[in-house]
């Protein structure tokens, strides 16, 4: 069994991997963590942004806990190169770490649209803790914030910006909001809701330039109609942090190509999270899922395998949920599969929308929008996930679901989804509670 584990990246995948190693291992091993930042949860940053939690709350571990787990840390350092023949990782300060096996979990970073002024003062990205601090410092009550990009990232911080008392305008180059998470009709429901809640949205507009304008920012568009504002947030996408692996021999496509044990072509090099092109549960094909749940599952599976277990991964499911002004929007699996048999349900007066995509008699994708306070929405959110995750055969309940898109529970229960799920675990054993992880053997 490998004695020296190297974990590169202290995000969700890395943290879960380390914890699972400690949970699973039967013999003592060394863990070394290389992390550019002190580990924190990116999911939580929007809540720090609107001050509903203190900064301390964002961190996912502490020096004391890492010491308890006997993790050697190189925090503040980045991996610069990987020599997969010598099993050595070189860090950005030139120091070297030897390993028996290693996990690449270096995640992604924000990218800004290549327009003049994108790197100017008071133009921010929102991805890292540092970037979050930058936004906090510049958004004040009454300030006008222009958010460039109407994707998932912008929507996760939309509530926070409004909670800070700022006026918000969202601009998007695509014809509609959330192009990679929701379909056209769903986007319309959300847009309508947001407008009713005082958010200005401009779609189909291309930013050409961001200028300084007497202490303010001026955002210029190809179609005219400049916006003058106090703060610009660029949420125009992310890219995986993989450049440093260029000469490592690790095979990459859009991400690192991994097998069902999340091993790369180099047997003692694993990849997890945003950088791993793992199996997509619905299509069975390799896919890059830059989402938290995938990072978490990847991390745990890798951790178990590093600890000497043999855990095959079934694949990850694309799931996204975002709440804007108390409206929930979620999508699962192959929600944009044009070949699927599709049914749509809408209750415009309740801002509720459903779209179900079937392949044969299995649900392979879904979109759900509804008011957060509506408990039945939350109920159905989970059940739709269960249906897509298990891929149970709905049989005659497929037609039922098509006829009654707002009665998910009948189809879910009558098709035995819960029973299919009960024995299912990611690691082949019950999960442990946080804090239950034993100290290093």
């Amino acid at each position: 069994m490998p004695r020296r584990h190297l974990i590169i990246g202290g995000g969700t995948a890395g943290m879960n991997a380390m914890r699972t190693i400690r949970e699973e291992e039967r013999e003592p091993s060394e863990i070394t963590l290389v992390s550019a930042e002190k580990p924190y949860s990116r999911m939580v940053l929007p809540y720090y942004l609107d001050r509903s939690i203190a900064e301390q709350h964002v961190f996912t571990t502490s020096a004391a806990l890492l010491a308890q787990w006997k993790v050697k840390t190189h925090v503040g350092r980045r991996a610069a190169a990987l020599d997969t023949k010598a099993n050595v990782c070189t860090l950005d300060d030139g120091s070297k770490v030897e390993y028996d096996d290693c996990l690449i979990a270096t995640g992604s970073s924000a990218v800004r649209a290549p327009v003049p002024g994108a790197d100017g003062a008071n133009v921010h990205s929102f991805w890292t803790l540092d970037e979050c601090r930058g936004v906090i410092a510049s958004v004040t009550p009454g300030s006008h914030v222009v958010m460039i990009g109407a994707g998932f990232i912008s929507f996760t911080i939309l509530n926070s910006i409004l909670a800070l008392g700022a006026k918000l305008t969202i601009v998007e180059v695509a014809p509609r909001i959330l192009p990679r998470m929701i379909d056209d009709a769903g986007a319309e429901v959300i847009e309508e809701w947001l407008r009713a809640h005082g958010v200005t949205i401009r779609t189909n507009v291309k930013v050409t330039k961001i200028e300084d304008a007497r202490g303010k920012k001026r955002v210029k568009f190809a179609s005219g109609g400049d916006l003058v504002c106090d703060v610009v947030i660029m949420a125009t996408g992310i890219k995986t942090n993989l450049e440093w692996l260029k000469d490592s021999g690790v095979r990459m496509n859009r991400g690192i190509i991994v097998d069902d044990h999340l091993r790369s072509n180099v047997p003692n090099v694993y990849a997890a999270g945003d950088v791993a092109e793992g199996r997509d549960l619905v299509s069975g094909q390799p896919a890059l899922h830059a989402i938290e749940p995938t990072a978490q599952e990847h991390g745990r599976v890798v951790g178990a395998n590093m600890a000497g277990k043999d855990v095959a991964y079934k694949g990850s499911l694309i799931i996204n949920i975002v709440e804007v002004c108390h409206l929930d929007a979620a999508s699962f699996g192959a929600w944009d599969d044009a070949k699927a048999d599709t049914v749509v349900g809408a209750k415009r007066d309740r801002s509720a929308y459903r779209k179900y995509l079937f392949t044969g008699d299995r649900l392979t994708g879904a979109i759900i929008i509804g008011r957060s306070g509506d408990v039945w929405t939350t109920n159905d959110v989970g059940m739709l996930k269960g249906l897509v995750q298990t891929g149970v055969r709905l049989g005659r309940f497929k037609d039922y679901l098509k006829a009654h898109p707002f009665d998910v529970k009948t189809a879910y229960i009558a098709s035995g989804t819960a029973g299919t799920l009960l024995p299912e675990t990611v690691l082949g054993r019950p999960a442990k509670a946080p804090g239950e992880t034993p100290v290093a053997v």
């Binding site: 969700t12 949860s41 990116r42 999911m43 939580v44 929007p46 809540y47 509903s52 939690i53 709350h57 996912t60 938290e292 749940p293 978490q296 745990r300 799931i319 949920i321 709440e323 929930d328 979620a330 306070g373 408990v375 939350t378 109920n379 959110v381 989970g382 059940m383 739709l384 996930k385 269960g386 995750q389 298990t390 005659r396 309940f397 037609d399 039922y400 098509k402 006829a403 009654h404 998910v408 529970k409 009948t410 879910y412 229960i413 009558a414 098709s415 035995g416 819960a418 029973g419 799920l421 009960l422 299912e424 675990t425 990611v426 054993r429 019950p430 999960a431 509670a433 946080p434 804090g435």
Partner: protein, 159 residues
């Protein structure tokens, strides 16, 4: 571990479990805040309560990015309010649809077996919900499949 054993044939759809549950959750009678929910099958003739199975995987617990979901003394997955930030990841990770979100407190909430003495069990007038040392299973499947078939048979799923 003791689990909520559901005997759907006994449920009459009176929703008293929801009222009792909400009283434990929020200190008021407010079924909208209940974590056990009664659903109809076969139109209006068959009902059954549905709640968290306290599943082995604990999808909600493993998904939580801040470790806010733990296992309490009763063996139930329990939300720690002071840790939960309200990101909703657990509500979407749970494939059973039994983790909820309270927009007024911005916290997730779910069945925690009332710490080992579930109120729904006391409230149920017909013992459709019992708290017993048995292996959990899909209590509703057969019942729902049978009862819902009546609806399908009579009108092809269209009421």
């Amino acid at each position: 571990m003791k689990v909520l054993k559901i005997t759907p044939e006994r449920c009459t759809g009176c929703l008293r479990c929801e009222i009792a549950c909400s009283y434990v959750q929020v200190g008021a009678f407010q079924p909208a805040k209940s974590v056990i929910r009664v659903s109809p099958f076969e139109g209006h003739t068959s009902y059954a309560p549905y709640t968290c199975t306290q599943c082995a995987e604990g999808w909600c617990m493993t998904a939580c990015p801040v470790g806010a979901i733990t296992i309490n003394a009763a063996g139930a997955k329990d939300v720690l309010d002071d840790r939960c930030v309200g990101c909703k990841l657990c509500t979407i990770a749970c494939p059973y649809g039994t983790v909820f979100y309270d927009a007024s407190t911005r916290k997730a909430f779910k069945c925690n077996l009332c710490g080992g003495d579930p109120a729904c069990v006391h409230a149920c007038p017909t013992a459709a919900i019992e708290y017993e040392e048995v292996a959990t299973r899909d209590w509703l499947h057969d019942f729902a499949a049978e009862r819902a078939s009546h609806v399908l048979a009579t009108n092809g799923g269209r009421r």
